[in-house]
Symmetry: C2
């Protein structure tokens, strides 16, 4: 087990009645609130009305930053920073999924520096000194951003999709009500499941390979996500399944599963330029990239992928070589994504073959564990899923 530091101060309110915690949380912060949300689904579901009523009852002055889209962009962050400075915002309230939360985190630190936020934090990775407090109401379980300190922002002008970490951007509170996900379009639910499994793989499929608590916990989370994913696909209003999906995606990135592990974010690193260049949903991109990546590194990560197959996918190793077992686990991963309706090829993502070189150029090659990828490896991986 590698040495580690673990710290996660997010207060989580979880369950059917989690929204009832919002008024008590609002009391802890100042008067001026910036409400961030996405494409307006929270208005259709009336969640917007409910939150606005709570904000008004708490005596808040509310400003809004609507229209935070998937793969949130620098432009939207600048817009939020501008409002925060002008209106002296005391609390950012992000209502939505990872994109809205990530945008809010970038606004939170960006509003407290004199420098350009992109250059300071997403290029120079300067340590933030201050941030506006952030609260979250989650509607789309996927990225885990509601329980972590990371933010991923896309700069369309440069084709970069970069991330920034600061303990100051841990949400002060996160409200997780699984019933809010009943009305999610299926493809969004599926992208969330793929993203969560991908996160769990990137933590789990990395050294050290010996037994340790963290690996057992990751296997537990993976089995839960697969079981609950199937159940929620069959019945979108299966509360326990929705609850497991929501809590597992948050737990996956709370930091607990990093403890003692090297981790391996190569799949995310390959996927980031794809969604930055083609505005592909992150989970859809991962459904294509991640199994292809695992097949490519299989000889290097053999014992770990064999263990994944046996413990998570229930592959019977009797009469099979280690490699056959390992590849069967990858095959079942791909099949599970397909069963849910996720894409399996770049063509399905509308990413043309000619794009592969550009994607490879933009891939950060520093996040590997079992095998150092080269630019040519990335090209080879992507060619397997044309």
């Amino acid at each position: 087990m590698k040495d580690f530091m673990y710290f996660n101060p997010v207060r989580v309110h979880f369950g059917k009645n989690a929204m009832a915690a919002l008024p008590e949380e609002l009391e802890k912060f100042g008067k001026n609130v910036l409400l961030l949300y996405g494409g307006g689904s929270i208005k259709r579901t009336r969640l917007y009305d409910r939150i606005l009523a709570d904000l008004q009852a708490a005596g808040k002055t509310v400003f809004e930053l609507p229209g935070v889209m998937p793969n949130p962009r620098t432009e939207k962050v600048y817009e939020g920073i501008e409002i925060c400075r002008r209106e002296k915002i005391d609390l950012l309230l992000a209502v939505g999924g990872g994109s809205t939360i990530d945008c809010a985190k970038a606004v939170a630190v960006g509003a407290c520096t004199d420098r350009d936020f992109w250059q300071a934090f997403f290029k120079d990775w300067e340590t933030a000194e201050d941030a506006i407090p952030l609260g979250v109401v989650l509607t789309l379980p996927a990225t885990g951003s509601e329980l972590d300190k990371s933010s991923v922002i896309t700069n369309v002008a440069t084709g970069e999709k970069n991330s920034y970490d600061s303990e100051l951007t841990f949400p002060k509170f996160t409200i997780l009500d699984p019933t809010l996900t009943y009305t999610l379009p299926k493809h969004q639910m599926v992208n969330g499941i793929v993203d969560t499994i991908s996160h769990l793989y990137e933590l789990y499929i990395s050294p050290p390979d010996g037994e340790c608590l963290t690996d057992e916990l990751a296997e537990a989370a993976l089995r839960t996500e697969i079981r609950a994913g199937r159940a929620a696909a069959a019945d979108p209003e299966d509360y326990d399944a929705r609850a497991d999906l929501m809590w597992t995606s948050s737990f996956a990135l709370c930091g607990m599963l990093n403890n003692g592990k090297e981790t391996d974010w190569a799949s995310h690193c390959i996927e980031h330029p794809i969604s930055a260049l083609y505005d592909v949903a992150h989970g859809a991109g991962l459904a294509v990239v991640h199994p292809a990546y695992l097949d490519y590194i299989c000889p290097d990560a053999l014992s770990r992928l064999r263990r994944l197959a046996v413990r998570v996918w229930g592959v019977d190793p009797a009469g099979r070589t280690d490699e056959e077992v390992a590849r069967e686990g990858i095959r079942r991963t791909r099949e599970f994504f397909r069963e849910l309706g996720a894409p399996a090829t770049l063509t399905e993502l509308h990413v043309p073959e000619e794009a592969i070189d550009r994607i490879a150029d933009l891939t950060d090659l520093g996040c590997f564990s079992y095998r150092q990828l080269t630019r040519e490896d990335v090209v080879a991986i992507l060619r397997t899923v044309l």
Copy 2:
């Protein structure tokens, strides 16, 4: 899954080099430090010298509260409170196991109230308004106190062993260095393992009985504790085993495994008067009480105990009734404790038969889940392990 609130802001430094984090942590707090420790083993191992050197290098003025014994008592808490008030202590630094940490937590809140600490917090359960910050260097993995907000204190005069919870008593930092446990006497290691398994059981063996992430995580932690317990018993300097024991006992009580569960602390409630009246080590008491409790409630908790047997102890259910499977899991629990050298009877604990009535009188009967225990049930349970 039940609704829940989860919050745990403890900063954990874990590993072979975890002690290197102490200087940076000390910088965050004021000048006057009260060092709390137990019977002096930290002097034999030279850990005391190392910590004192760090404190001096950080320019701290150090006061000491040595001699915090197992089942920490009100007297020691009063002594600590007195020092804190007189010397205007800025930081409590608890070096030891759960007893030292629990004593420090009671001092932390007790020093900040005008009322008698026992009456205010451990009898009236008043909400603490303030507390002196607490840091921990753990030497004995068992109680999980290093990662939770609970304190258990014994009042010898009344025979009570009561607990108190406050978010203000979460340690600000906890240093977990598994190599510090290499020199633990075996019976202390074993008590710690029993205590940890007991905590995991009390969280896991409770409704709801459906599938959920929390149960999968608890099973993962149980399998890890059993595996690592055997490995550390065979080789006390097996680093990975010691690391798993230390991290699993902390993880068990970090709150993650409460999420969505009713929990069932009946075994702890029966054991508390035993250790309060007879100064029995908590883990030793649990080794006797817990399997007896499970056998007693087996018909009420059948499906859950069957699942425990299959998923944690690897019992093959083929050709057995549910009850046979469930009882085999309990039998293996008892056998595992015995294999490690833990006691199995009240006689081995030097608790006489005549004490049973008094123990039953003092048992808090409100912590059950599957079956509401009566005083007579407690007597009956204890009679099975004379």
